[in-house]
């Protein structure tokens, strides 16, 4: 950890960092796919058909070849050991250029960092390179029908049998499982231990016999997540990450990454900018919507919160780069940002009136139907990665020190 250096408000990035930004911009302008919508499954990773998936993999590969994927990872694992500042710049430019999301994000943001911290040398060597290149796509097998918020109550069990685990049970809401090559999965390996102490973190090849994936249709009409059934699925013991029964701690090392992944303040900035443009473009009976006093109030209220979360993220970022203890974890960002994103989309629908509900394929749909899609998707993000209520529990108990509940 860096020594705490004298702080102060200095919002300038260094010359080298700005140079990084410029070359990234030039690169993006040159290499961005012409028609995003043909490859972009969006943040919801809802890819439509094999062609889109192939194109999305190709895009990640292109980004990787240029050195723009997993720049936070250490160099020996194929990353750039980039500072938090560079990561922020990359995230900003990706969003402002509307570059497609990376299809391998669960591997890049969750499994990769987990293996780097808790994996064996052999596991890193086997899995990390293909996460970077999108040759292998990962899905996250945590939630079960009976275990969502109360994740530690999960029941999918893995029993030891020689050099293997034998897995039986069911996962649900598993995003991308229908085309993923691998799953990082929480399973119960000790039935009698207290619930947090009997869980292990294992890696499962999705082509193993005994796995059945049944797509679930989301409210968007697309099938982004799935049910996954395991019947006597054999998983080599070498695919255990961390200690046997120590999976809860392993999973927790990356839950924070997940919250950050879901709470990108730049994404919120961009949604807001789109909303402002929409208001400036649309007319209602009395003229431009953006001239309406009530609309201006709502837009300003949203804009204030959007900017506030940007400054909040700067504060967190600079605490991180200067080695100061983090004042609060990602719970506030996850809670506020996901709800704000949804509110922005809902406001867009309000401004659109009867045009609001028109989906992409409909005649007269505005912005190719992105608003109704994002309005739905952003509510999913309020629930996924720990619901708003769970974030509030975390804030109340871990930050404010109120008594722990269930």
């Amino acid at each position: 950890m860096l020594p705490a250096i004298p702080a102060g408000v200095d919002l300038a990035f260094s010359k080298e960092d700005e140079k990084f930004r410029r070359s990234l911009r030039t690169w993006l302008r040159k290499h961005l796919p012409k028609r995003h919508d043909e490859i972009d499954g969006g943040e919801d990773l809802n890819f439509e058909g094999p062609a889109q998936i192939a194109a999305a993999k190709k895009w990640q590969r292109t980004m990787h070849d240029a050195g723009y994927v997993a720049i936070d990872w250490p160099k020996e694992h194929g990353g750039k050991a980039a500072s938090a500042v560079r990561q922020t710049i990359l995230a900003e430019e990706i969003v402002t250029h509307r570059a497609p999301g990376l299809i391998g994000q669960l591997g890049l943001h969750m499994l990769g960092p987990t293996l780097i911290r808790c994996g064996t040398a052999a596991q890193r060597k086997r899995f990390l390179p293909k996460i970077l290149t999108a040759e292998e796509i990962w899905c996250q097998g945590y939630s079960e029908p009976g275990s969502g918020s109360d994740l530690a109550s999960l029941r999918t069990k893995a029993e030891s049998d020689g050099d293997d685990f034998v897995v039986n049970g069911q996962k649900i809401w598993t995003t991308t499982a229908h085309f993923a090559d691998w799953m990082f999965c929480l399973v119960r390996t000790h039935a009698d231990a207290p619930k947090h102490k009997g869980i292990s973190y294992i890696l499962i090849d999705m082509k193993t016999p005994g796995i059945e994936v049944r797509p679930l249709v989301q409210m968007t009409g697309q099938s982004g997540f799935n049910e996954v059934f395991f019947t006597d699925v054999r998983v080599p013991r070498s695919n255990l990450v961390g200690e046997l029964h120590g999976g809860w701690a392993v999973a927790n090392t990356t839950l924070a990454h997940e919250r950050n992944m879901l709470a990108n303040p730049m994404r919120t900035q961009q949604l807001m900018a789109d909303l402002v443009r929409l208001a400036a473009r649309r007319n209602d009976n009395g003229g431009k919507v953006s001239r309406d006093a009530l609309v201006r109030q709502r837009l300003a209220d949203l804009q204030i919160r959007v900017d506030m979360m940007k400054y909040h993220s700067w504060k967190q970022l600079s605490d991180e780069i200067h080695g100061r203890p983090a004042s609060v974890g990602g719970a506030i960002s996850k809670l506020v940002t996901t709800e704000l994103n949804h509110e922005i989309c809902a406001t867009a629908l309000d401004l659109l009136g009867d045009y609001g509900p028109l989906v992409g394929r409909s005649p007269h749909a505005e912005d190719r139907g992105l608003w109704p899609r994002d309005w739905m998707f952003t509510l999913g993000m309020v629930i996924g990665g720990g619901t708003s209520q769970i974030q509030k529990n975390i804030i109340a108990e871990r930050v404010l020190g109120l008594p722990r509940g269930a």
Partner: protein, 378 residues
């Protein structure tokens, strides 16, 4: 890149908190609450000894030469303990306005005395219409040879009973636009001038009506150029926004701390009320609003170092946001206290009332949201 308080600011916050804990205790607040004057000259003298009165005054004029972020740090602490003090009215608002609008010689003559705490000043701007746009300033200053004569009234003037001098915005030319507004420095005892206290529910801060009945003002009492004061008032409005937002931040933090402490101690149904999720979530929601607000406040304060549009936009954002956050937080904090929170005896209502009064002071959240919209070019 770094977005944080510097070492000096951290130190200022700590020493201010310790100082105010000792010198501006809740019992002092309560005593002054009931006091007809509501001012503690002893506390004020000690505040001046700290050098705080000169915080925003350049060193050349005997001050500390610090910036708005430093002032915001201090105001956060003052807001936290509700210290009844003319720091906002005199050391921040009047001092800033004099620095913006005054001629070199006026600054030389006024700022050192303000910085040392020898005199207090306050700004008299709003009138009956309660409007912060140019149409709200109608009080006329008619020129009579080398003098001006003022008739009319000013409302919502902070600390007018203890300020030695008023900075009065008045029209020196016909019209209701931004041009033709001038500033005058008028002593409290000037003939023809009378004060009426306004009875507000927040008694930690006293407001007044000032009536001008043909008050005669010499030409050298005019601050800055004739008819050109509007832009300085606008800049002072930005300063006011940041200052009040800072008070709100400190007050909201403190109100939530009180509520959380109470929730850990009070028992009902055989357990502490803080174990009820309804209570926990109220507290968590407040915290999730207060914590990111601090970053908005810092940004807005820092933006004042440049006097561009962004300074105004950020200031209005902070004012609109922090005012509402403070009001919501104190509302929940009273509720978490239950019946005791509704009593005169318990201190909670001090913060509840200050929050709502701060929301109105120098522009409602709706006013500032509209200002954000306009400055954003919507």
């Amino acid at each position: 890149m770094d977005f944080a308080l510097n070492g000096d600011q951290e130190l200022l916050a700590q020493s201010a908190r310790a100082f105010l804990k000792a010198e501006a205790s809740p019992s002092l607040v309560r005593r002054l609450w009931d006091d007809p004057v509501g001012h503690c000259s002893d506390l004020n003298a000690k505040i001046s000894e700290q050098g705080w009165a000169g915080l925003l005054v350049p060193e050349a004029h005997g001050g500390l030469g610090l910036g708005m972020l430093d002032a915001a740090v201090l105001l956060t602490e003052l807001g936290r303990c509700l210290a009844p003090s003319p720091f906002l009215s005199s050391s921040v608002l009047a001092t800033s306005l004099l620095s913006f609008a005054g001629s070199a010689s006026q600054k030389r003559s006024w700022l050192p005395r303000l910085a040392s705490g020898e005199i207090l000043a306050t700004v008299a701007w709003l009138e009956e219409s309660d409007r912060l746009d140019p149409t709200g300033t109608v009080l006329r200053a008619r020129r009579a040879r080398d003098r001006f004569r003022l008739s009319g009234s000013k409302l919502f003037v902070l600390d007018a009973h203890i300020a030695d001098v008023y900075l009065v915005a008045a029209r020196t030319a016909a019209g209701l636009g931004p041009d033709g507004v001038s500033l005058f420095a008028i002593p409290r005892g000037a003939p023809g001038l009378s004060l009426t206290p306004l009875e507000g529910f927040d008694r930690t801060r006293r407001l007044f009506e000032i009536k001008f009945d043909d008050v005669v003002v010499e030409r050298d009492q005019r601050i800055g150029r004739e008819g050109a004061a509007w832009k300085h008032l606008q800049r002072m409005l930005d300063v006011a926004c940041v200052a009040i937002a800072a008070e709100c931040q400190g007050g909201a933090e403190h109100a939530l701390e009180m509520a959380v402490d109470y929730a850990k101690a009070r028992e009902q149904f055989g357990q502490t009320i803080g174990s009820f999720q309804a209570v926990k979530h109220m507290a968590a929601e407040c915290f999730a609003e207060i914590e990111p607000s601090r970053a908005l406040l810092w940004y807005a304060a820092q933006a004042q170092e440049t006097s561009n549009k962004e300074a105004s936009r950020a200031a209005s954002m902070a004012k609109a946001r922090l005012g509402e956050v403070y009001a919501r937080t104190t509302n929940k904090a009273v509720q978490i206290h239950g019946g005791i929170g509704f009593t005169w005896e318990h201190d909670m209502h001090f913060w509840f009332k200050r929050a709502k009064a701060n929301e109105a002071l120098f522009g409602s959240p709706a006013f500032h949201r509209e200002r954000v919209a306009a400055l954003s070019g919507w």
